[in-house]
C-alpha cells in the first residue's frame, strides 16, 4: 500500500496518510502509549553491564518510574530483552532461543560496547561474537563500557519513543525477521 506523497497545493491542505483515518490513529496512539509505559524486561545479564543494569533498577536511578518495574525471569512473559554483557559463541544459541521464546511484539536493547561490536574483546579473541546483531535484531544500541545507568534510562526512553511511533492497527511496512 503506497503512501501518496503529494505536494502541498495550498497551506493547510490535509495529507493523505496510511489507511486508517483519525479513528485508528487515535486508537494506535492510545495503545502505543499504554504499551510503551509498561514494558517488562527479561532478567538477562552475562557480565559487567549487568551490574549497571542492576544499578538502574535500584532506588537512585529507578527504572520503575518509566514502567519497567516488573522484571520477569521467564522470556515468555517479557516484552524486552536488555542484552547486558558479552555474548560468546557458546551462548549465542541460548540467546537466540530466548529471543524466539518471547511473544510478539518484542524489543531488544543492546547494552554496552561488547554487544555492539565485540567491544574491548574485538581483536585476537577466538570465541566472542562480534556484535549481538549477528544473532538477534536490535532496536536500540547503548555505547559505553559499562554505560552509566542514566545512559540505560536514555535508551529506554528512546525505545519508548520508538514504540509510540509504531503503527499497531494500521498496515505497516515493517518486515519481521
Amino acid at each position: 500500500m503506497d503512501v501518496k506523497s503529494d505536494k502541498l497545493e495550498f497551506p493547510g491542505q490535509i495529507h493523505q496518510t496510511q489507511d486508517g483515518g483519525i479513528l485508528l490513529t487515535t486508537l494506535d496512539d492510545a495503545i502505543n502509549w499504554a504499551r510503551s509505559n509498561s514494558m517488562w524486561p527479561l532478567v538477562f545479564g552475562t557480565s559487567c553491564c549487568a551490574i549497571e543494569m542492576m544499578s538502574a533498577a535500584d532506588a537512585k536511578y529507578d527504572w520503575s518510574r518509566f514502567g519497567f518495574e516488573v522484571a520477569r525471569a521467564t522470556p515468555r512473559q517479557a516484552d524486552l530483552i536488555i542484552v547486558a554483557g558479552t555474548i560468546v559463541m557458546k551462548m549465542a544459541p541460548v540467546l537466540r532461543r530466548l529471543y524466539d521464546q518471547m511473544a510478539d511484539p518484542k524489543y531488544v536493547i543492546a547494552m554496552g560496547a561488547c554487544t555492539i561490536s565485540g567491544g574491548p574483546f574485538f581483536y585476537n579473541t577466538y570465541s566472542v561474537v562480534k556484535g549481538v546483531d549477528h544473532v538477534i535484531p536490535v532496536d536500540v544500541y547503548i555505547p559505553g563500557c559499562p554505560p552509566r545507568p542514566e545512559a540505560l534510562l536514555h535508551a529506554m526512553i528512546t525505545l519508548q519513543e520508538k514504540v509510540r511511533l509504531e503503527p499497531y492497527f494500521r498496515k505497516s511496512d515493517k518486515t519481521d525477521e
Binding site: 559463541m89 557458546k90 581483536y123 577466538y126 562480534k130
Partner: protein, 151 residues
C-alpha cells in the same frame, strides 16, 4: 622453609631435579617419569606438607610444553613451582594428580581444553570452556582461526 631447605628436601627425593633459582618462588624441573612419585612425596612429607595446589597451567614454548604446578603449604606458608617438560607436542601425556589434590581435576580439564595435553587416569577428561565440537586447542602458539581478527 627457605629456598635452600626446600632444595635439600627435593634433592633428597631424587637427584635428577634441576633447580632454577632466579624465579620467586623456587622452581624445580622434574623428568616426567619421576613426576608422580615426587607429587605424592611432597603431599605426604611432614617437613614440607604441600597440601594446597594453587594452580596448574601450561606454557607453550613452540617446540615443547612446560607444565607448571604451583604448590603451597597452609601450615608452613612456603611455595614451590614444579615444572615438567613434555617434548612431544602432538601426543603430550602425563599422569593426573587429582587423587592427591581434588582441585587438579578441573585445572587439568582446562589445560586439556586449551592446549591438548592428555592426563592419564583422569576420571572425566573433556573440554570445559569450549564446545565439545570445537576443533583445535586455542592457546597453542600455532593456532589459527579465521574468526580471530589480528591487530
Amino acid at each position: 622453609m627457605n629456598k635452600e631447605e626446600l632444595k635439600n628436601v627435593l634433592s633428597g627425593y631424587s637427584s635428577n631435579i634441576q633447580f632454577d633459582e632466579t624465579t620467586e618462588p623456587l622452581s624445580a624441573i622434574v623428568p616426567a617419569a619421576e613426576f608422580f612419585g615426587l607429587m605424592q612425596f611432597l603431599r605426604k612429607d611432614a617437613q614440607s606438607n604441600f597440601d594446597f595446589l594453587n594452580f596448574m597451567t601450561c606454557v607453550d614454548w613452540k617446540d615443547h610444553f612446560m607444565l607448571v604446578y604451583f604448590l603451597h603449604s597452609t601450615t608452613y606458608r612456603h611455595d614451590v613451582m614444579i615444572k615438567v617438560k613434555l617434548e612431544n607436542r602432538d601426543e603430550a601425556e602425563i599422569e593426573t594428580v587429582c587423587n592427591i589434590w581434588r582441585t587438579a581435576e578441573f585445572h587439568e580439564r582446562e589445560v586439556f581444553d586449551l592446549f591438548g595435553v592428555k592426563f592419564t587416569h583422569h576420571p572425566d577428561l573433556r573440554r570445559i570452556f569450549l564446545d565439545d565440537a570445537w576443533e583445535g586447542h586455542p592457546l597453542r602458539k600455532d593456532y589459527t582461526d579465521e574468526n580471530m581478527i589480528e591487530l
